[in-house]
Symmetry: C2
Subunit: 236 residues, 2 copies
DNA sequence: ACCTGAACACCGTTCAAGT
DNA sequence: ACCTGAACACCGTTCAAGT
């Protein structure tokens, strides 16, 4: 009767990474320290080094895990039934990737900080390129398209205008706007619009709407270049 | 003869921030520690707290300084002579901002990590909005345009495909491509193109070209929406 | 008012020692 | 083979003490 043995599953690289993802999801990437992770697994921090090279290895590992999640989710998206279907399908794939990333808010920034692209993403981009090729893109145009999409092609954009969850007193807010209107009239106008738009939750923008808007601007633009048989402009 | 007094300029917040920018430029943002910064200024780390609240204050300060540099550089760009000039002028302003950021490689990532947009950028965005408004954009469309441009509107995109300065043996490279071609044929094709393109330095992409390509896709797309009198689609 | 040295609470990581 | 405890070199920051 070896009951005691079963109380704790054996530590593996797999289990360490899974715990790391959970910890980052729940308490933020800054809370992911070797000591905290060890505690989560009922073990001293130093034991982790038996299953993982170092902290950088963990960070690479959890990003790769999320990318694997993306690839799996995107694989479920139905392929286009005709060549012209590349656009809606690509759009859906990107929005699917976005859903995964919204479950792991720490992932985008970490992904950008990595030296190399996670190997699991090769499958993702191979699919994107394939869609465009079958839709009539030259290899060249498909290449530039990937760059033009940038991180949007993976489902995220780092928002520069952060949601100030403005607990600001409305009268104080009005005064600030008044003052700003002198020097920065256009900015003041825009802030008024944003705050008053019934569509957006008061005091912020609808991230999902803005993401899709920008995505469509790019996809439509690429479609037009494909239609016009875009080629590298002659260089001097 | 107070010679000794002049050997060291008095420490000020201004001087601390300037030294911090220089240190980050020269040795990277990770090398910017309180102790290293103190040493650079010939002072103990703890003295810095007399002129600066804490490290977060320094990070906010140096990002704000860079943004101020952007605003100053962009102010030199000539305004359009006719409403239709909004596009080339906006384009030039963005590429000007990009030049500043290329001198401070650490700035984009830090900017994205900040809670709030630096106050010095209000002037920048006020100018961008003004250009679009005079060019015929509705306030609404100008707002979505800012989101669609995202960080590109400030002159940068976090590149996901990092320049592997591939010191890879060509024959090894050929083998890798061969192996990849089986599972990921489109990706393999693209890597061949990129490596062989005479325009790009071998083994990488031309970041500046890709930036301008993506920027033009977006600007052209926005122009078309303006022309078509884009309006918010009716919602259910 | 400004600067200093010692100290504290945290990191990631190494290493010799245990089982 | 796996885990542990003590230790090391680094952080940012506090605080009492100096001038």
């Amino acid at each position: 009767m070896e009951v005691a043995k079963k109380t704790r599953a054996p530590l593996t690289r797999e289990r360490v990474l899974r715990a790391a993802v959970d910890l980052a999801d729940e308490r933020g990437i800054d809370a992911l320290t070797m000591r905290a992770l060890g505690q989560e697994l009922g073990v001293e921090a130093m034991s982790l080094y038996n299953h993982v090279k170092n902290k950088a290895d963990i960070l690479n590992g959890i990003v790769d895990a999320v990318c694997g999640e993306i690839v799996a989710a995107v694989d479920e998206v139905d392929p286009p039934e005709e060549p012209a279907g590349w656009k809606p399908v690509l759009r859906t794939r990107i929005l699917t990737a976005r859903e995964v990333l919204l479950r792991h808010r720490w992932a985008p920034a970490l992904l950008e900080s990595l030296a190399d692209i996670p190997p699991s993403l090769i499958a993702y981009y191979d699919g994107q390129i394939g869609l465009m090729r079958e839709g009539g893109f030259s290899l060249d145009l498909a290449h530039h398209a990937l760059h033009a999409l940038g991180s949007r092609g993976l489902g995220f954009t780092q928002e520069l205008f952060v949601q100030e969850d403005s607990e600001v007193d409305p009268t104080v807010m009005a005064m600030m706007l008044q003052q700003m209107a002198g020097r920065y009239p256009h900015m003041a106008d825009m802030m008024k619009i944003v705050a008053h738009d019934p569509e957006s939750t008061l005091g912020g923008c609808d991230d999902q709407f803005e993401f899709e808007f920008g995505l469509d601007v790019i996809l439509d633009g690429l479609d037009r270049l494909r239609e016009a048989n875009w080629q590298l402009p002659a260089h001097s």
